[in-house]
Symmetry: none
DNA sequence: GCCGGTTTTTGGTTTGGACCAATTATTCGT
DNA sequence: ACGAATAATTGGTCCAAACCAAAAACCGGC
């Protein structure tokens, strides 16, 4: 099973590696790729497969254990305790009862202002990180899952670009909810390659506006991306 | 490897080293050997002094930070936040590093839109709840602490009036930060009775606009209240 | 004086390796 | 076959080093 998602290579931003491992593993658990009660690969195997040090894998497993998704037994292995049924949820309780419309409204409020703040606040280094994510996006246009994850990373970088801890915290909640919505949408096969191409164009324009520090243009592109997401998420079946 | 106090040598029990470091440091903090607000030695120094690796020191500091005993700032150092006196209320980590300006920016983004949404969404019952809080505010104008608490309740009701769980969650973070800022401001005696009267007038106007479902008017009153808070919180000493 | 750049210090992240203890699998003597 | 000794595997702990970015300290020229 090639579950290749975000290549850990490149080693761009601090915290990126850990997040990648956590995201990957928790997704595999949530999607039952590692089924309930099943034993997941040894830490050393995971480290090799994901191309990271065992220490990092352990750090990730620590957090999954804290979330109650796995349980570890020395000498034996790590076992999935998460069960998609039975009311035990692994995702943030907020995201759980946030509908697509709620999400859309909140993004409409936050994102345009967020870009404005980011533009006047981002360091060149952060803009470069943004561009790196953009390149990765072009490279994975065939893989909708990977694309959505990179989109999220892109947005996260913009939020962090504002340098406002409160805004970052709030937007993390938004991203949680967004991830939730997109899981459902992708399951319904709404994210087609042609759509991805449209998105890609939007992000390129957004990035150029940011790099050029063109506030109004960036804000407009942000709104456009939102409208596109709206089409995708609120689409009828 | 010579140690000053409790040498971890001898028994090589698992976890002994970490526990030793945590015990040592938390004791030093509890006994005010590292006083409140004071900066404690750098991780590298501590590692050398205690005869352990920096990794272990960091692990220990992680736990002390989780307990709310210390707070770390990259490039600056680790500082004792533990205070043997005081109500010992743990504030959210987000609120901790959110400055007054960050808070103000975020409120400026959220609140005007929030009122709009609330107005078109609030049930009569919720409006009545608002009015009750308003009455209580008039009754406690002499008590600044109580007044601020009621203000928070007023805002929370508006947020809940939107019926948007995501927005509510975000705004809870904002309120956390606000509480934090106001603690400092009240300590500096900036919230005088005459100021409270001004606030009260603003809230009355805001409520009337909401009750009349006048969106623009309410949004304006909300912005006004924000400006007043700004005067209070960003005031020079 | 004081403002801007450079250097140093400090926490943050990741890697890689070594050893330990609990568990499981394997092998061997009878 | 069977059970005990043994080896291999797995998570748990700790160490050492390298590099990054944020903050602070420093320093030279206007």
């Amino acid at each position: 099973m090639s579950n290749a998602t975000l290549p850990p290579a490149g080693a761009s931003l601090p915290g990126a590696t850990l997040r990648y491992v956590i995201e990957t593993l928790s997704t595999r658990i949530a999607t039952q790729e590692y089924a309930t009660e099943e034993r997941l690969p040894s830490e050393r195997q995971l480290a090799q497969e994901l191309g990271v040090a065992r220490n990092t894998v352990r750090e990730a497993l620590d957090q999954l254990e804290a979330r109650g998704m796995i349980r570890r037994r020395a000498g034996s292995g790590s076992f999935v305790t998460y069960d998609p049924e039975g009311g035990s949820e692994a995702l943030s309780p907020v995201a759980a009862d946030t509908g697509p419309l709620h999400l859309q409204v909140m993004r409409g409020i936050l994102e345009p202002e967020m870009v404005r703040l980011a533009i006047v606040n981002m360091a060149p280094r952060q803009i470069e990180a943004l561009s790196k994510v953009l390149s990765k996006m072009e490279a994975v246009q065939a893989d909708a899952t990977a694309f959505v994850r990179l989109e999220e990373e892109f947005h996260r970088l913009i939020a962090e670009g504002t340098g406002n801890p409160l805004l970052i915290a709030c937007y993390n909640l938004v991203l949680d909810a967004r991830r939730q919505s997109f899981r459902a949408a992708m399951y319904r096969r709404h994210l087609t390659p042609s759509r991805i191409a449209i998105y890609q164009r939007g992000y390129n324009g957004l990035f150029n506006a940011i790099a050029a520090r063109d506030i109004e243009e960036a804000s407009e592109f942000m709104k456009l991306a939102l409208v596109e997401d709206q089409r995708l998420l609120l689409q009828e079946d």
